[in-house]
Symmetry: C2
Subunit: 470 residues, 2 copies
């Protein structure tokens, strides 16, 4: 009994084995601690099986085909849907986590399979086992798609991002509820793969409304140009699906009705904190866990509880969850050895600057830092410059009729960039130049000497600086 | 007579209307001066008609086809060569410079057609006209391919980069002399377009010898994998072409002989300063013009002579020529109005850091700053880290069997990057992140907070920092 109990004591217990949880375990072990990683489903999390990996595997051939159609001389023809789906299956490792298990073993961390729940301070219950943490418990449980409260919706069992990325049979008529990243990406992918009648129902008046307005406009134009219908300012009053797997009918607030073979709901996410035993440590069940810049939960005494990734609501993006995880793991290790914990490496300062994000639509949308609106709302001294990416020689060389746009938001006092947005085909790798400029606070005067290579799309940097007046 | 003479007086005379010359004219006019632009051939220069633009127009479909072959589900098939050549023709505007003429008119600058030669200080002779410069003459004449001194070579009238980029009939058997950028890029393009038997004859023991060794190795493996033969450590003793346009035979120093339908010589360049009237101002004819960081020629009294682009030999790259041109034009304007000329914007400091360059082979090679060897030769405190790009999730998503590599050269004392090299498909736009990091001297500790978006190839930044030990 004593022996059994001692094996369930770890320096750190991480609840949730997605990318954020895995990285916490990795960093604390590198820092000399022991770690348990609790996961009830697949190690690797949403990102590996139901989000980033499969969605990008589906979108890559769509993107390449669109690029090829703009470059004369390349073979034309339709996508081989079965081959695309097969590569998606490969990208998600056939929904098996063997590879991730081996990775955790190499860390080494102890994998505990099962649903983890807090059972009082420093304790985590997994089935019949009670794990105890010497130093910290880290919540890395991620989030679930949120279903809006529409009569009949839950009963209709609509698709969420999980079903869309795991698609086996592409519905011919697809209705998509939402206008954000998942809605745009999956509408484009599924339409290219056979959803001939795809319609986006958007409550607001634009797509991708967390980004600069022109981003949503360019994506909307591209989706519509490809044959996808978009309706703005429309809400669903009621959903009706008479038989499981059969057609679904939506009653709209404009009185109209719409029937589709499948309905994809992509209207946001909700943290998986409802069944986490938070009440055993005096916290409300559900909701985001508020944290400081080291990811320590601020509403619990004793400093033993942390939350990383979607669970803290700071940035619902895999790479930011991993970033938080590195900071968090290092901070836990530093505190465990009594070292200084107030150094910049142990503070997730980039979280507050505006996380970099790539939206893998065609055109791609990349943004980092603040939008103009955000910067003005913060009362910063702002000037913006924009440039038509299609006028850059490097963009022309990528293909005929290249359409895209770049925008920089400049702090006129400090002469640094507050935010940058690029929209256009093939700009995904361009984003990191902006991320380094924003996070590194490189002044415009120094950026003037960072010469973009000709002929690349990156030359837009020169045009933006010229437009600013350097 | 007096009126005619007065129209030939300008604040600044720019000799050579390539990208560098055009940018000098643009910047001095923005600075309030008048400018004449002297061009004997096509406005827009080598880059627009015989180098960057046509070569990339030829390489883009080759690159896309290679990418498509690694993504299951895309249509397969050969390139339509005629369509590729037609787009190349479009990219060079049919070898007409009307568009560039309109651009110069809008600057506005005065275009003087004809070969320009110095005729004493501040004077430029163009045919019967003598132009006089109040403030500065700027040499922007560019460079020509250099033919090595091999018996029979000149008489064989081999192809240079100009002929290769302007190709109309692709030779079936192509021999390429050289192992640098032009040799690699054009061998790959022409092989894909029909030069079934393509052979590279390289004097040294590797390709692209100005870059990190692994870059040349990866490109060599790719060329060979595609069916191109490469012979290292071989020199041509003699060239023989019995009839113009007929087969050409090369006698090699290993005793072997080789017959091809065409021979492309890509063994370097030489500045076009031989017929520039340099002797009229006391300078030797030919050779690079030595300049200071404001592009002022250091070997002439009076400070009126400048040289930008290939003519000064600092960096034979279009974007660096344009960069020098901006600095030069602004410096001339500042000096003309008696303003301060010792500010950072008027010094081409990036020239000395190691110019960014993209080589558009498949895989692409991108580098900025110093190679490890250069850094060690300068006696800097160096540590390097490398990472296999194929292990980055974002690279896997670009295609099966992604092969590439990244290397960072770190100054261990200042904890900044001295140089970065990326080799892999589709990394061209990734380079500018490194350029900003190197030129902006962003510390590793700050780069740690510049989070690359998942899943992009840019995530290699995280891996490099982890490999370094952050």
């Amino acid at each position: 009994m004593v022996a059994a109990e001692s094996t369930d004591v770890f320096d750190v217990i991480v609840v949730g084995g997605g990318p954020a949880g895995e990285n916490v375990a990795d960093r604390v072990v590198r820092g000399g601690l022991t770690a348990a990683l609790v996961e009830g489903h697949l190690l690797g999390g949403e990102c590996s099986y139901y989000a980033c990996m499969p969605s990008k595997a589906l979108l890559r051939p769509v993107e390449l085909l669109a690029e090829a159609r703009h470059v004369p001389g390349l073979p034309a023809g339709p996508l081989d849907v079965a081959a695309v789906l097969a590569r998606r299956d490969e990208a998600v490792a056939g929904y098996r986590d063997d590879g991730q298990v081996r990775w955790v073993e190499r860390v080494p961390a102890t994998l505990v399979r099962g649903h983890g729940r807090l059972a009082g301070p420093r304790r985590v219950q997994v089935g019949a086992r009670t794990l105890t943490a010497r130093h910290a418990v880290v919540v890395a449980v991620g989030s679930d798609p949120a279903l809006p409260d529409i009569p009949g919706l839950a009963e209709a069992v609509p698709w969420t991002s999980r079903d869309a990325t795991a698609v086996r049979h592409v519905p011919r008529r697809l209705a998509v509820l939402g206008g954000g990243v998942v809605a745009c990406e999956m509408a484009q992918a599924l339409h290219a793969l056979g959803a001939e009648e795809t319609i986006l129902l958007v409550r607001g008046d634009r797509l991708l409304d967390a980004t600069e307005p022109f981003a949503g406009e360019l994506v909307a134009a591209s989706l519509r140009g490809g044959g996808i219908e978009i309706r703005f300012g429309v809400s669903v009053r009621r959903v009706h699906r008479p038989s499981p797997g059969g057609p679904v009918t939506l009653r709209l607030d404009d009185g109209g009705e719409l029937t589709a073979d499948e309905l994809l709901v992509a209207t946001g996410r909700t943290p998986r904190t409802g069944d986490l035993g938070l009440s055993t440590v005096g916290l409300p069940d559900g909701g985001y866990l508020p944290v400081d810049d080291s990811m320590r939960v601020t509403t619990v005494d004793g400093g033993w509880l942390y939350a990383v990734g979607d669970a803290n609501g700071r940035n619902l993006l895999t790479h930011m969850g991993k970033y938080q995880a590195r900071v968090c793991g290092d901070a836990i290790a530093a505190r465990a050895r009594g070292g200084p914990d107030d150094v910049p490496a142990l503070r997730a300062t980039a979280d507050g600057l505006g996380a970099p994000q790539v939206i893998f639509t065609t055109p791609q949308v990349c943004a980092v830092g603040l939008t103009e609106r955000q910067a003005r709302e913060q009362g910063l001294p702002v000037r913006t410059v924009e440039y038509d990416l299609g006028r850059v020689a490097g963009a022309y060389l990528l293909g005929d009729g290249y359409t895209g746009r770049a925008k920089a938001v400049v702090d006129t006092r400090r002469r640094v960039l507050l935010g940058v947005t690029f929209v256009g085909p093939g700009v995904a790798e361009l984003l990191h130049s902006a991320t380094i400029a924003v996070v590194g606070e490189v002044t415009l005067d120094r950026l003037w000497h960072a010469v973009p290579a000709f002929p690349t799309v990156s030359e837009v940097w020169l045009r933006l600086l010229e437009a600013y007046g350097l």
